[in-house]
Structure formats: C-alpha cells, structure tokens
Amino acid sequence: MTNPFLLEIGVEEMPAKYIDEAREELRAKLEQWLNDHRLSYGQAHAFSTPRRLSVIIEELAEEQENMVEEARGPALSIAKNNEGDWTKAAIGFARGQGVDVSDLVEKETEQGTYVFAQKEKKGQSTANLLSNAVALLTTLTFPKSMRWGSERLRYVRPIRWIAAMYGEAVIPYEVAGVQSGRQIEGHRFLGNTVVLDHVHDYEQGLLREHVLVDPEVRKEAIRDQLNMLEEEKDWSIEKDEDLLEEVNNLVEYPTVLNGTFDERFLTLPADVLITTMREHQRYFAVRDNEQNILPFFVTVRNGDHRHLENVQKGNEKVLRARLSDAVFFYQEDQRRSLEHFLEKLDHIVEHESIGSLGDKRKRTAGIARKLALRAGFHEQEVSDGTRAAHLLKFDQSSHMVDEFPELQGIMGADYALKLGEKETVASAIKEHYLPRFNGDDLPSSDVSALVSMADKWDTIVTSFAIGLKPTGSQDPYGLRRQAAAIVQMVDHYDFPVSFEEMLSVVIQEVEEAGFSVNVSEVFTDVSDFFSLRLKALLSERGIAYDVINAVLFKPYGRLDTLLERAVFLQDMYDSSEMKEVAEALGRVNNIAKKVDAPNVSAPEPEVFEKDEETKLYHHYEELKEDFSDLLEKKEITKAWEKLVALVPVIHHYFDCIMVMSDNSRLRENRLNQMAHLSMELNRFARFQELVL
C-alpha cells in the first residue's frame, strides 16, 4: 500500500533569487532520505512560491523494505568439529546474535568458509519515520539567513507554518515553535487558509485560494499572458529570461498589466530606459516590430484583475519619477566636458594601495599602446586603442553611472560619441568589460579586445604587485575570471604576442607608474597563476591531463597556438600515427634531458662521424627553417607532417648510433644535437609527457 507525502514550509517572503535552489535542495534531500531509508516511492514534485517551499512524494510505500542483516561468525573449521557438530564457539556466536544455532549458514569468503547469522530486519512503518523527513527542513542552506523573535534557529525568513501529511494523517513535528499540521495559507490578500483533508487536495486547494503553486505552471501563465498582450497590441515584449524567472518568484497569482510613460522620455538611450525599468521596477520593455522602444511597460501583479487600474496608475507614477531623475542626470552629464569627467577619476579610488581610476587609465593606456605595437597593429588601431584606454572608465564619474552602475560602459560609449570620439573608440569603451563571465560575449573588434586585455592585465599585475593574490575561495577582485578572459581573447583574436612578452610589458608599465615591483617574483607568480587558469580552461575543453602537461610548460609562448596544439593532440590522441610520433620524439627528448639545456652549444657538423648524424642534422635544419612560423600561423597540420617525416629518420639514427659514446667529443656533440632538436620539437609539445 502507498500514500502520497506532502511537506510544505511557509515562510515570510523569501528573496526571489534563493527560491529555485532552495526548492531543488529540499527535493533532493527528501529523495536522498527516502533512498537511505529503503522507502520506495513514485515521483517527487517540488513546488515553490515566495512564501512556501514544498514537495509531494507520490506513492510512498507504507513500510520500509525488509532487510537481511548478516553477521560473520567463526570459520567453519572452528564452528564445527570433525563429526560435523556445532562447537561451543558456534553455539556461543549464535546465542550472541539471538538466532538458533541450526539457522547459521555457511558461506565462502576470500578468507575461506565461515558461518554467518542471518537476521531478517522488518521494515518500520513509514508514518513512524517521516518526522525525521520533516526535520530536513532545518538543514536547507541559504546564502543569507536570519534570526527572528526569540528563536535560536537561523533561516531564510521567519517560519510561519508547516504542513506535513502522509495521505490523510498529519506527521507531527515542531520547528522553531511552529507545530506541523494540515493547514496552509492561501494568497496573502485574495485567499484563506486551506485545511487539507488529504495530500491529493494540495494543488487544487491552493488554486481555489489564488495560489499557483507549481512554478512552471505559473511561469507559463505569465508567458501566455505576455503573448496575448503582444498579439492584442501588436507589440514585441522583451522577455528577458532572468527577469521572467525573478518575477515568477515574486508572485503567487500573476496578472500581467501594462502602463505607459511620456514620450519625452524616449530621448533617453534605449539601454537606460530598459535598465531603469528592469533593475528598479522589474518591468518588461516594449518594442514595435522595427525594434524601436515604445513608451509602454509591462509588469506582473501579484493578484487578480480587480482594481487593476490602481496598480497601473501607481506604477506609472513611480516610473515617471524614476525617468525624470534619469533625464535630469543625463542632461547634467551632457553639460560636462571630457576633461571634467577625467579629472574626477583622479578622486575615485580603485584600491587604497593601487590608486585612483585616474592612475589606472594612464597605466592602461601605456599597456594598450605597447601591446598594440608588439602585435603589429596598424597605426590607426594603435591610436584608437590607446585613446580608448586613455578614456577608460571615464563614465564612472558621471551621474548616470553613479545612479545606475549597471550602465557602466554603455553610458561611456554614448557620451564618448556625443563628445566627438570615434565609433571604434566608443565601442571599445563599452566593450572593455567583456567577457564578464564564462560564456559571455567577447569584445567585437580587436581594438576593443586589446583595451579589455590591457585593463585586465593591469588589474592582475597591480594586484599581484601589492600582494593581493587569490587564495582558495578568496578572489575578491575576480582575478581568475579576468585571467580566463585574457586567454579567451588572445585565442579568439589570434593575438600574436607571447604570454611572456605581454607580462613583461605590463610589469614594466606598472613599474614605471611608480610601483615597487619585485619583477622576478611577480613574473613567476603571475605565470603560475595563469598556468592554473590554462589548465582549468583546457580541461573544460576536454583536453586530457597528459596532453595538457605536454603543451603547458614555461615559457608558454603564444597562448592561442598553445590551445590549438592541445586540441590537435587531443584529436589525434588515439591514432597510431600519434603513438609512433610520440615514441620517436620522446626518445629524443629523454636523451636531451641529460644536457643542461640553457647552456648547450650548437652541434658541429664536422664532428659528425656517421651519415645518420648528418642526415638528421639536415632534417633538423630544414625543420628549424619554418617550424615556428607554421605554428604561429596555426598551420598545425603542416607542422605535424614535418614531425611525422622525422620519425623514420630518428629511428634510423638510433638504430645506428650510440649517443653515449666512449669518445667524449663525439658524445657531447651528439648530446648537443639531441638537445637542439628537442628544443625545436618542444615548440609543439613535450612528447615524452604523453601517456598513450
């Protein structure tokens, strides 16, 4: 026999952004508990509104499954004597286990045959166990929790009711002074208390009291109403998914309504209108079919259709005040000169020990310029990138960004254009914040990417210079994310400057800006820091550990080619060609290790004793000619083919030549040859690292 189980906790309004996770956590914990307790059940449905989290377990068995417990006794040789009768040892064991000695069973184990006592443990009744499931409510974790009244418990918000029912029966339990029962609250203003006779009545009972308790059903209801409104008015409503999710977690009974605002506010940039409406009021913006913003907004009320005009009027009034403020700030800002904004940046502190945003933009401009020159940008690009970096974050001193921080960059671009800056410069100011998170858009041009990289490089190196390194879960300035962003941009734009060159340029700039930098320490620390980022990024892309080790070693060189080589090796991983190449080249690398690499002198062809040496030397010379070039141009396949061609030459060499000759002159020359060849091969990978 089975019954459904309901667990609902009623709280004062939870923060919208906590609800989805808390609901899923409750479901998962309940299911885990049921499994741990050998309770069979059908489906688990989770529900939530701003005021409640709940789970219904369908077809929950009335009893635990029975279980056989086994206890190992003495070895058979000890349990029975030669006549096959039970010994004292066996009788004692059986008594201790509370079973009859005749019920002991013999079983083979790895250590030989033993006797076992088997006891059937009868499952307990579910109703008796379920109060422990109710107790799970107190184990939910929230980003922020609180205390209230005189209660000791910390919870997301004060607990107001708990319903715990198994079929028709209440499962009694108390949390923070609240006794569980069969009563749950309906809509705060439109509903009454629901007294459940049976778990089956849950959803319908709440619906009668104006609560759509299933979050998916509620979201669909909002979406349907939005669609109907679009059709009716011939609008296109910006159905921002995050906003829809948030709004869904702010209401129990959604009714979509719309309002209007004065057309004079349409002089504000679309981003300002959308942001003001979304961030401050949770409104959806409305566009026409040509994507122009219309002077309307759409919002979702927590209630029904009655007196909707009050709600509309109130919301219009609030929006009017907000937009009036925005217009005021927008106009104030436009009365200012660029110099005014830039001068004010000197008074905005980035970090006490790093300095002001004014200092930052100067350093960043220097970095951007040097990187652009190294990358061989055209003159125009160099000057655009430097200009954008020079104006970096100037909108931080504007009224608009002060009021709406999420408009940073957007306002900067808008004002820059109005102040006569070029389109490229304006969009670099806007896009230098990108990518803000893993999977975000990248800057849309290489000038924007250059500025974004310069900004991030500056943050990383200045932070390391003053000893602010991310540790464990501590990364308050998001340096890991910024390092990952740099790698992504280098990769996407084939930025042709090696990692080490970039880092040196940045350290130099930071030093010239007056930081006392322990150059070699910062260089090493930042390199190691990037190594971890690169490893993470490579394994995210499905690159195996040994492949990562084969390509990721100091100096890293160009990061874009490093990634490319890793992907190539990973693709080739299971091929026989790969096995052959790795084996042959690994031999070279292994022998080359015997030489002190940095001080190795060039092999001298006149010392060669055998043809194979000369032949390998010619191949080496030929490889050297364009191998690094091919790699930089990402002609990975061509570079690979060169390596493949080397394989028979190398094998032949080792067949005929003993590197560790007794003749020291020959030996040293051969080792030198190996070392030089190995250095060249390492441009592709350290093949000896591959575990094929």
């Binding site: 309004e13 609180m146 205390r147 919301n315």
Partner: protein, 296 residues
C-alpha cells in the same frame, strides 16, 4: 487624507498595539534608526515597543527645494517591536488599512532588501514594501546593532511619510502635499529646504566642521569613559551629522571617508556594549516588568 492625519492615524494605530508613542529626538540625525529609542533600546534582552515620527536629515540630498522627490530633510514614521511579533507582517498591513489602503485593491509586495549602517555597525534582513511599484516602507529584522547580536531580534518598520502621502494624495511633487487642509508641505518646508541646501553646499565652514567633528568625537569618548551612554550617544549623533555635512560639502575624499566612518563606528560599538553592561547591572528592569505582566 492630509499629512498630519496620516501621522495621527499611524500613531493611533500603533498606540493600540501597545507601542510607546515617543516624540522626535532633539539631535540631528540621518535616519530614525539613529534615535536612541531605536539604537540603544534594540540592544539587550528587554522587550521594547515604540513608535514615533523622525525628521531625518540627509544633507547631500538637499536640492534647494527644486527637486520633486529629494529633500534635505524628510520624515520617517518609525516602529520598533522587540521581540519581533509572529504576526508583524499582518500588523503592518493592518496599519495600511488604517490609512484607507485596502491591500486587495492594490499590489503590495515584500521585495528583498537588506539594510546595513556602517557607522552604527548594524545590519538586518528584510524587505522594502512596494505599493503598486512604489517603495513605501523599509521592513527590517535587526541582526546586529552596535556590533552586538540582536537577541531577541527587534523588527523595525520605517514608513516614508512623504512617499506614502504622495501616493495617498496622488501628488507628483512633495511640495504640493497637503500638510493640513489648505496648507501645503511647501508652505512649511520650502524655505528651510532652500536655506539648508544653500548652507550645506555654499556657506558651511568646512574647517570649523572638521574641528567640530574632532571635538564631538573627543567628548563622546570622555563621556563613555565615565560610562555615561546617553550623553555620549548624543555626541556620536553630532559626529555623524557633521560628517554628513562635510561629505555633502565635498570636504572628504574617498579614502578619508572610510576613516571617518570607522571612527564613528568605533564609538557606536563602545556605546552599545557599555549600554548593555549598564542595563545588565540594573538587572534589565523592563524584562522583569514584562515577566510580572505575564504572571499577573
């Protein structure tokens, strides 16, 4: 309903819910929370229910009386209940009904908003209450006050009187609100708004204010040495207001700002812990009375 009727209704309502009706405190302050009837009384185990109007000064919000929503001084209606009652949300909604606002005819929301005051070393969790999209009340369960854990927890309701009235009276401009029939908010407050803004942004002697801050800070410290919490707290409030004037006058850089806040916070923390010790020495008198009430 004019402004003073709104205030009278709220006072009447909360008086019936066993709150002491107090008067505004006579030292300048930025928020009703800073009134000692809230800050000091929400510390420690003694029960405490109080309601009062607080004129709150925010010098940097001064706009010469030209902005329809921003004011140098606005009015808060403040309610504190300790320990927070289980039905506090219902009590609050009922207070709106007392003002003629029927929840089912509007859209009332409790939207997450956490509160923190760095100078008071106080924070709490709660909501801003939205009435048809307008924030009319800040609703906070104190978690820490003066660096001490709130135990039991006090709940604070702060109604924005001007916001609420502009909704009730359907006015766009705060200066058009009717304070009493026939007299507007502007009749009473336009001139002080203008003059305070003028003073704050153009006239204030910033060097003198910096000196005053130091003087007040010292005096607060001296009073605390003697265990005299209430006079010390008055000087802490004066420090806070002086700091606000200095900031509005542009006399404080961002780095300095942190330093000033830390100095006020240090005093507030000390004040809080001495106040707790003083009440403890007295045997938390209000706690006893509450128990006797319960017993009788």
């Amino acid at each position: 309903m004019n402004v003073q009727e709104v205030i009278l209704h709220l006072q009447d309502y909360w008086a019936k819910k066993d709150c002491f009706i107090m008067q505004p405190y006579d030292v300048e302050k930025g928020a009703g929370t800073m009134n000692p009837m809230t800050f000091l009384r929400s510390i420690g185990p003694e029960p405490w229910n109080v309601a009062y109007v607080e004129p709150s000064r925010r010098p940097s919000d001064g706009r010469y009386g030209e902005n329809p929503n921003r004011l140098y001084q606005h009015h808060q209606f403040q309610v504190i209940m300790k320990p927070s009652p289980d039905n506090i949300q219902d009590l609050y909604l009922e207070s709106l009904q007392a003002l003629g606002i029927k929840p089912e005819e509007h859209d009332i929301r409790f939207v997450e908003d956490n509160w923190e005051d760095a100078t008071l070393n106080a924070w709490g969790l709660g909501w801003e209450v939205w009435l048809d999209g307008m924030e009319i009340t800040q609703f906070t369960y104190f978690q820490q006050v003066g660096g001490l854990d709130a135990d039991p927890v006090a709940v604070e309701l702060t109604y924005g009187i001007e916001r609420l009235c502009s909704y009730i009276q359907d006015k766009e401009n705060v200066f058009d609100l009717e304070w009493q029939d026939g007299f507007t908010y502007g009749d009473i407050f336009y001139q002080p708004e203008y003059e305070h803004s003028m003073y704050t942004f153009n006239i204030a002697d910033l060097d003198m204010l910096k000196q005053l801050f130091i003087t007040y800070e010292k005096e607060a410290g001296r009073a605390l040495e003697e265990g005299l919490v209430f006079p010390a707290y008055d000087y802490i409030l004066k420090c806070s207001h002086t700091f606000n004037l200095l900031e509005a006058g542009g006399a404080i850089s961002v780095t300095e700002r942190t330093g000033y806040i830390a100095r006020v916070r240090k005093l507030a923390r000390k004040c809080a812990s001495i106040h707790y010790a003083n009440r403890e020495k007295l045997g938390f008198p209000l706690l006893k009375e509450a128990k006797e009430d319960a017993g009788s």
